[in-house]
Symmetry: C3
Subunit: 357 residues, 3 copies
């Protein structure tokens, strides 16, 4: 039986007509909709049975040489001689295509006998706990969540439903995750914040007894670190995306749908608004506020509050256009110096002529 949008098996591989795919994705076909595709691949690697994505004009040169059987594009790509699905959100289409052609096999539920699970922990019957995971007292793992090998849940840590914790993820005591949270390998949530009292030139440790609270639909990158609050909580709100090796200090709060690229560092108690975007290696000092929809360009060093919607770069970070303008002016400094030198000569000549010197 075939119906629009269904995958069929062709030679054992899942395949689909382009017009059916377009209908399923919400796009429009240009060219022959009866073409059958059975995979997705980059422009350079794709074969006649593959769909490929073309969005970025920097890759226009690849359109002529690609062997892809069909394309997904935002706007019709005239250079390409293959059928296309034109889609207003081609990356959303890509996300759906990956799910279609590379479906996730469901994890086998159950607790591996080589895991260490406290008798007081609660593990949902359809959750998966792999070998060498270590689940502390009164910790909790929700329905369909998967804890890979070596995951550590401290006492009272809480994992919601449909979460995936990749190998060696550490949730220290009382850290809480919502639902559909993905944490990549090696990330550490709930280590002590870097808070010390200083007395007579020596540091006195302030133990951190707060928590980390992660809301629904958050993704956290490999080897990232999110410290627990000194007393209260470090808070990662719904939909936030955090890349690898990002550091988030004690008592920070990140607003909904914000995203931080790799190696960003956010200092203690700083509060980030909603839909804020940060490029890689951005740093923010402590106790700042960053307004909604702000954009911090890669490597910015932010030392003051950031207004809503601002785009900042450089160190100390300020308005990106001003930074570019200042950089251009600095590059023009030798010309300015030459003009001043010429003026000095002309003025000397004038002074001689007018007997001022």
């Amino acid at each position: 039986m075939e119906y629009p949008g269904a995958l069929t098996l062709v030679n054992g591989i899942e395949s689909m007509r382009l017009d059916h795919l377009a209908e399923r994705l919400g796009g429009t076909v240009i060219g022959d909709g009866s073409v059958v595709v059975s995979g997705i691949a980059p422009l350079a690697d794709a074969g006649p049975g593959d769909l490929s994505l073309y969005v970025d004009p920097r890759y226009r040169h690849a359109l002529r040489s690609t062997k892809a059987g069909a394309l997904v594009t935002r706007e019709p790509a005239d250079e390409a001689r293959v059928p296309q699905i034109v889609h207003p959100h081609p990356f959303v289409a890509l996300a759906a295509l990956v799910d279609l052609f590379h479906p996730v096999s469901p994890a086998k539920a159950g607790v591996d006998p080589r895991a260490s699970v406290s008798p007081s922990a609660r593990i949902a019957p359809d959750a998966t706990v792999h070998a060498f995971a270590c689940i502390g007292e009164k910790a909790s793992v929700g329905a369909r969540s998967v804890l890979h090998s070596g995951v550590f849940l401290g006492e009272g840590a809480f994992v919601g439903e449909d979460c995936v914790l990749w190998p060696h993820v550490v949730l220290r005591e009382r850290v809480r995750l919502g639902n559909r949270v993905t944490i990549h390998a090696g990330a550490v949530l709930g280590a002590d914040g870097f808070g010390f009292a200083r007395k007579d030139g020596k540091f006195v440790k302030i133990r951190h007894v707060g928590i980390v609270l992660v809301e629904d639909d958050v993704e956290i990158g490999a080897n990232a670190t999110i410290d627990r609050g000194t007393l209260g909580r470090t808070l990662i709100r719904r939909g936030v995306k955090i890349d690898n090796l990002v550091h988030i200090a004690h008592n920070v709060e990140i607003g909904e749908d914000s995203a931080m690229a790799a190696q960003v560092g956010i200092s203690g108690s700083t509060v980030i608004g909603k839909r804020v975007l940060m490029g890689g290696q951005v740093g923010l000092v402590d106790h700042l506020t960053v307004g909604n929809d702000a954009v911090l360009i890669a490597q910015s060093g932010v030392i003051g509050n950031v207004p809503e919607g601002a785009t900042l770069s450089g160190y100390p970070a300020r308005d990106h256009r001003e930074v570019l303008k200042a950089a251009a002016e600095v590059r023009g400094l030798d010309r300015l110096k030459a003009r001043v030198l010429k003026l000095e000569e002309e003025v000397r000549e004038l002074r001689e002529k007018t007997h001022l010197r």
Copy 2:
């Protein structure tokens, strides 16, 4: 029995009179010292039974709305309508309060049967080794030290007394820790330094056979990395505090009571003095010396030796006040250009008037 400074149980919660607390902490009470508190919490979250800390004037607005039963402050906070403990070192007081209201339960001594312990390793009888820790040949763990799940000690690694190694900490062969060292989850001590000989455009590996030596009272952050010496040792002296994701290269030496915030990177053989403070994401090139009490502001890029007591910022890092002055001058460049333009016009006019042109 009650005596000044004792905790009593009120409804099952440990509680204490404010005047007794003040005596214990070494502070002075302002207002009603008979108030009883049973916890500590941030200004925004505190209830009538909680103490809260107020130091930073940026949070003055929170004084009016807080429901805290009492405050710890550095100077009397007149806006607050609750009793206060005024303390010369409020963060030192906070450290003591955390220890008082959130005492650490002692770890249960012993070696989990699911740990892998070499028969030649020496584990103090009152040390704790959790499941899936891996203790190599001739490694040593001192009294009352706690090795969490997945900790790895290579051959001959040495852990002193009262240390805490959180999950997945790796001490490679012969790395040595003093007493009261805390290492947060995922930190790696003793990986090979990044040292290669280059010949005909190719790299020749130099195996690193030195060690890492960590003295007493050091704290090392989550996922930090400290490489072993090429031949000699990488040395972290007494009292040093290292934040998450910091990188310390082979043969570096860090002086007593210095502190590095998150994501700092220190290149090979650089020597840091005592009580040096570094903000986040600071980088130093190799073979430098940094004098005692220097301050390196966040994101500084240090490419030369740093004198004692200097405060540096920017790239290449130089005196912070000069950096701020230069930044102001760059911002004023368009005004300077306008002045030069005006001069050019005036000089042209003068030259015409005096028949020079």
Copy 3:
């Protein structure tokens, strides 16, 4: 039996005559070649039985006080009063000396019964798999490779011959390593790239189904992260050296014999040429190309393509000499302002004199 270049045991320690060593290393002896050495040590720590390396003139002061019995140098060091091996590549000599005086004991082959190994995995009989390693379905470990405690190989991951994976290294599904690859503790290869579609201000996850492909003779530092391709592969070519805490995003390609110091971050789909050198904390935005033999100085922020052989620094990164020149000009801005001020006064005077004002 003794022959040139052989190690002999002196008091149980391996020892060697200097002239025999020089012959073996390909260097020339200056001074008494009959001296016997039995170890290598830094200038400051070496004793009479030790060789030491002297290359960097910043350590000339240490030549007078060193107790080393002999030196390896690039050029004769007249200040030193000990025999020397002069070698055109002293660090190549050092690499050989470490191998000679600190030979690696061969790992004991076999799979520890406490490892978790899928029945469908293929482990070479002379490979070593330590306790708590976790080898997924159809994963493969080649001859003489060593997987330390807690290493994770996802489904279908492939490790070539003579590789060393230190504790807690994670290779996610289908990641492939060539031969002689060393990965330091905690590194994560094959986590999902940071790729999300954005729709109505919210992120839609794009699962990453590509791979990471690592060729022969690569070394990867502790807690580094290399993400898998979105669809295709992230590619690390032969001989590349990657330091600790480096981040390499999805679909990046690194050319042969390139090296990246600690905390470098490379964004998605950027292509790096051969023999490129990057200092610590360098960052590159996505979709760039960097030409062969380029040098990116520490902390550079690269936002455009880099030509072959260029040396860049600063943010936005540009020609290093221009950056230094611009920095000098910015430092001279107060002098330029003073010159403009003087001109303004002189012109005012001239205008008065000539009745223009």
